[in-house]
C-alpha cells in the first residue's frame, strides 16, 4: 500500500494531503475535502454525475486517482457561486427549469462550463454533444439544453461588455 503527499489547487485554494494511491479523485473531493456537491452516480464511468474540471477540462472524477491530480487545478460545483451570486449556468438551470431531481446537475453544469470555455457560442447540436457524457433520467434533456443556451448568451453578453 502506498501513501503519497499531493498538493493541488481546488477552487482556487492550495491543499496538501496524504492520500492512499487507490483513492479516487471523487472520494478525495467528497470525503477528504468535504466538498459534497460533486455526486457519485453510476460508479462505472458512465453517468458523468462526478464531473469536475481538471486544468479546465471536464473529466469523470470517479475514473482518475487523486494522486494523479498532484499539481493540478481542480474546479468543482462549489466554486461557481463564489461570492454568493449564481453563475450564469446556475441561473440558467434555475430560469429554464433545467433540473428535476437535481442529481445530475453538478456534473451537467461542470461539463457545460468546460465546453463553453472552448466554444462560447455553441449550436444546439454542439450542446447536445457536449453533454453526451452526462446522463439525466428526469428531464429528457431539452430543458438542460435551454439552460445552457441561456448561460451561453449571458456569458457572451458579459464578455462583450454588457451588463
Amino acid at each position: 500500500m502506498s501513501e503519497h503527499e499531493v498538493t493541488l489547487t481546488v477552487n482556487g485554494e492550495s491543499v496538501t494531503r496524504s492520500v492512499e494511491a487507490r483513492t479516487l479523485l471523487i472520494h478525495f473531493i467528497r470525503e477528504d475535502l468535504s466538498l459534497t456537491g460533486t455526486h457519485i452516480g453510476c460508479d462505472t464511468t458512465s453517468c458523468g454525475a462526478c464531473t469536475v474540471l481538471v486544468c479546465g477540462k471536464p473529466v469523470k472524477s470517479c475514473t482518475m486517482f487523486a494522486v494523479q491530480a498532484n499539481g493540478a487545478e481542480i474546479e468543482t460545483i462549489e466554486n461557481l457561486a463564489a461570492g454568493g451570486a449564481l453563475h450564469p449556468l446556475q441561473e440558467g438551470f434555475w430560469e429554464k427549469h433545467g433540473l428535476q431531481c437535481g442529481y445530475c446537475t453538478p456534473g451537467m453544469i461542470m461539463s457545460a462550463k468546460g465546453f463553453l470555455a472552448e466554444n462560447p457560442n455553441p449550436t444546439e447540436d454542439e450542446i447536445r454533444q457536449g453533454i453526451s457524457g452526462n446522463l439525466c433520467r428526469c428531464t429528457g434533456y431539452n430543458k438542460i439544453v435551454e439552460a445552457i443556451q441561456y448561460a451561453a448568451e449571458k456569458l457572451q453578453d458579459a464578455a462583450a461588455g454588457g451588463e
Binding site: D43, T45, T63, F65, Q68, S132, G133
Partner: protein, 290 residues
C-alpha cells in the same frame, strides 16, 4: 467500489518508466488515460500490485505527418485527434473514429495508445488501425521495434508486446491519391460500446477498387480484419451488388457473441449494414467528397 491497493509510480521520463517496468515486470500495469483500466480495477477485474502512471510523459503527445506516414504519440488524447487539422483534412477514417469513442468527458482523459494497447475488440481504434494498416512502435530495455498492426492483436485483451515494453507511437501510412476511408458505428447510446462498427480504407483506380482494408469492432474475440469482405471489393467496379456482397461476406466471417446488445444474427446483420455504409462513404471520399 474501491480498487485493490497498489504501489504507484509517476515517472518523469520514458527511460524511468521502462526501468520501473523492468523492475516490476509481471506485477505492473501501465496507467495511460485509465478510462478502461480504472473501471476494471474498480470491479477488481484487474488487480495490478504496481501502477506506472505515464501521464507526465508529455513527450508522447503529438500528431505529426512525417514523410510517408502520420505519427501519433501514444499518450495523445482522443480529444486532440478531434481537434487536429491534419486528421480532419487527410485522415477522415481516424476523425470519424475519434468522435465516437466513448463520450467527450472520457475523451478528455483517454489516449490513443491506451485504446490500442488494451486490445479490447470493443474499442474503436483497433478496427481503424487494422483498416489503415498501421504500425505500432514499442520500446523496451532492448530498444525500439515496430509491430505491424496485423500481428499486434493476439487474443482478448492480449497483444504482441513483451511485459517490459511500452507502446510509444502509432504510424498510419499516408493515404495515396484517390483514397478514402470511413468509420460507421452502431451503438445503443453515446458512451456505449458498439453493437457493431466497421472501418474501411480503400483506394480507387478509375472506377475499380485497387486496394481495400476493412476492420470490424466488437464482433469477434480479437480485433479482426474482414478479409472476405475486402476480397469482394478488390479489382471490382463499385456497384450496389458489389457493396452488398462485401457486407454479406463481413456478416458471415465475423464471430459476434450474444449479449445485452443483441443476438448473433442481429449483430451479423448490423455488421453487414455498417460495412456497406462505410464502403459507400469511403468511396464518396475517395472521389473527393466529404
Amino acid at each position: 467500489m474501491i480498487p485493490a491497493a497498489f504501489d504507484y509510480h509517476s515517472p518523469q521520463s520514458l527511460d524511468e518508466a521502462l526501468s520501473l517496468l523492468q523492475r516490476h515486470a509481471g506485477d505492473a500495469k501501465i496507467l495511460a488515460g485509465g478510462q478502461s483500466l480504472i473501471p476494471a480495477m474498480r470491479f477488481r477485474l484487474a488487480m495490478p500490485s504496481v501502477l506506472i502512471d505515464i501521464n507526465r510523459l508529455d513527450g508522447l503527445r503529438y500528431i505529426e505527418e512525417r514523410g510517408d506516414h502520420l505519427a501519433i504519440g501514444a499518450m495523445t488524447l482522443e480529444n486532440a485527434l478531434e481537434d487536429s487539422p491534419v486528421v480532419r483534412s487527410s485522415y477522415p477514417l481516424l476523425r470519424d473514429t475519434a468522435v465516437v469513442i466513448a463520450d467527450p468527458l472520457v475523451r478528455n482523459m483517454a489516449t490513443v495508445g491506451g485504446n490500442i494497447a488494451h486490445a479490447d475488440p470493443a474499442n474503436d481504434h483497433p478496427a481503424t488501425m487494422l483498416a489503415y494498416g498501421a504500425t505500432v512502435v514499442v520500446k523496451g530495455p532492448k530498444g525500439e521495434r515496430s509491430i505491424a498492426i496485423d500481428d499486434f492483436f493476439t487474443g482478448l485483451f492480449e497483444n504482441a508486446m513483451a511485459e517490459d515494453e511500452i507502446l510509444t507511437e502509432i504510424r498510419i501510412p499516408k493515404p495515396a491519391a484517390s483514397s478514402g476511408g470511413a468509420y460507421t458505428k452502431f451503438e445503443r447510446k453515446v458512451g456505449d460500446y458498439a453493437i457493431s462498427a466497421a472501418a474501411v480504407q480503400l483506394r480507387l483506380d478509375g472506377s475499380k477498387v485497387a486496394e481495400a482494408r476493412i476492420g470490424l469492432t466488437n464482433v469477434s474475440a480479437v480485433p479482426m480484419r474482414a478479409k472476405a469482405a475486402e476480397a469482394e471489393l478488390v479489382g471490382k467496379s463499385i456497384s450496389d451488388a458489389v457493396v452488398e456482397a462485401a457486407g454479406k461476406a463481413a456478416a458471415s466471417e465475423c464471430d459476434p457473441s450474444p449479449d445485452l446488445r443483441g443476438g448473433v444474427d442481429y449483430k451479423r446483420d448490423i455488421t453487414r449494414v455498417m460495412v456497406k455504409r462505410s464502403i459507400e462513404q469511403a468511396v464518396a471520399r475517395a472521389k473527393g467528397g466529404k
